[in-house]
């Protein structure tokens, strides 16, 4: 074996983005932890992992990770309460600003969401492979280890778009969405209650019965996320760079024109740029984290399961086909998403 070094990430991008993040983020948190039980960690956008506690602040781009006995409740600054169930990886996006709409999603596991602010400002809710628009809603979202997302609406209305089909749900309605497929039939979830572990295990068994079809659906979802990272990266980079230049200009103005002119530049130019760049960065980071989480918690898990099932038969044709699809999408992920990550993200 030959030792290899971890590829260097574009350090300037990360440093500038985090500087903007910490500057603007210090002013307001995007969520606050209001309840904790068991093991709950917050993995911050800077890659630091800290134990969640009552009153802990959570910023857009952070992930809440609960262990098998951990649970947490968050108050979102955008309005709404989220209860994160055990064994869940939950991603927080920022407070809506300008063109950005806040989003809440689980990479795997489950959470319940209750919106309690003024209508019209609801976040998008879902998983890394499915997203729903909500209106005055209380709902529960389950995300299985194969990426299947199940929505159960308790109050209000939910609309889910997937693969060209829109499904509308009302109170007591439920639906399951498989990765890369249209939403299934709407059903009354009260008549089909689930135990998450049993449901998840059944879906993994189904995956193993047709792994190549399943990985194709997941690859399509990952390609869509990579497309979004590719499309939004220039805008996010440009806004970060603009804020950085405005900060450099602040020193130049202070030197040349004095404190009053610098104060005016700070208030009129630098602060709005920082806020806008922060909102763009957090929104973009949510997409990057979604791709990372899809790889880390869904693709890797499924790949490990099938590698385990065929551990002593590594040349099985089904395993070869599975790897071909997975390696293809991962090659693109490594090229486009990974340069946006730092080692402490994983």
């Amino acid at each position: 074996m030959i030792a290899t070094r971890i590829r260097r990430v574009p350090a300037l991008y990360i440093v500038v983005a985090l500087a903007i993040g910490s500057a603007a983020g210090a002013a307001a948190q995007d969520a606050t932890v209001t309840f904790v039980d068991g093991g709950v960690d917050i993995r911050t956008e800077a890659g630091v992992v800290r134990r969640a506690d009552f009153g802990s602040g959570v910023n857009g781009g952070d992930r809440i990770i609960t262990d098998r006995r951990g649970e947490a409740e968050l108050d979102l600054a955008a309005g709404g309460t989220v209860r994160v169930a055990p064994d869940t990886v939950f991603i927080v996006s920022g407070t809506p600003s300008g063109q950005t709409q806040s989003r809440v999603a689980a990479a795997v596991g489950s959470f319940s969401f209750r919106f309690r602010a003024a209508a019209g400002n609801e976040p998008r809710v879902g998983s890394t492979t499915s997203v729903a628009g909500v209106r005055g809603t209380e709902l529960v979202v389950y995300v299985a280890s194969d990426g299947t997302t199940r929505y159960e609406v308790i109050e209000g209305r939910v609309e889910i778009d997937s693969d060209g089909r829109t499904v509308a749900l009302g109170p007591n309605d439920g639906v399951e969405v498989r990765p890369g497929r249209r939403p299934g039939q709407v059903f009354s979830f009260l008549e089909r209650p689930i135990d998450y572990a049993v449901w998840n295990s059944g879906l993994i068994d189904e995956f193993l019965s047709s792994p190549v079809d399943s990985i194709r659906g997941l690859a399509a979802e990952m390609h869509a996320l990579i497309d979004e990272v590719e499309r939004r990266a220039p805008q996010s980079d440009a806004m970060s760079e603009e804020a950085r230049r405005a900060r450099v200009r602040l020193d130049e103005i202070r030197e040349k024109d004095g404190d009053d002119a610098a104060e005016k530049h700070f208030t009129d130019v630098l602060t709005p740029l920082r806020i806008a760049a922060r909102a763009e960065f957090v929104s973009f980071r949510f997409v990057v984290l979604s791709a990372l989480s899809l790889d880390q918690y869904i693709l890797s898990r499924l790949a490990a399961e099938i590698e385990a099932a065929y551990f002593f038969d590594p040349d099985a044709s089904v395993l070869r086909e599975f790897r071909a699809v997975l390696n293809d999408v991962r090659a693109r992920y490594e090229r486009i998403v990974v340069p946006r990550l730092v080692p402490s993200d994983v």
Binding site: M1, I2, A3, T4, R5, I6, R7, D67, R68, D87, V89, V108, S145, S201, I204, D295, Q296, Y297, S300, R301, A303, A304, E305, E307, A308, A309, Y310, F311, F312, P314, R330, E334, V338, L341, P343, V346
Partner: protein, 146 residues
Amino acid sequence: MKPRMIAIAAVAVLISACATVPPSTRDDRVADVIGLLADAPIPSVVEQASLPFLFTDQVVSSESDLTAVLTRFRSAAVTIDPVPGASTPAPGAPSGSRFDVAVFYDRLPDDARFVRVETGAGPLTIIVGGSRNRRPLLMGILRGAQ
């Protein structure tokens, strides 16, 4: 110096030497871990494992995922010989590794080792390192002899 003092000093040196020998380099401790992998209840194996865990070339990140993967591995596996085979210091990540795999190798402790394990269907390699309950942690399972 009295013979009794010399004996006490020798025992003290021996004890301190044992305390600084990493469990991953001690065959008896590694054999304990292989024994767990062979036939202990899966929760006991997970208890002695570390996260993230490398399974073939996939990085498993959560306890529940590792439980599922080891359960699947156990159902596919054949008899595992509990006697450790050749052991070497863990190398760096293979050339061309993905990001998550490279990070995994980068974080391995200094005492991490690759240990060859014989099974009824051919060899496999386990990665052991660190320590818990005086035994090395199980950090990964790789196909074949590495």
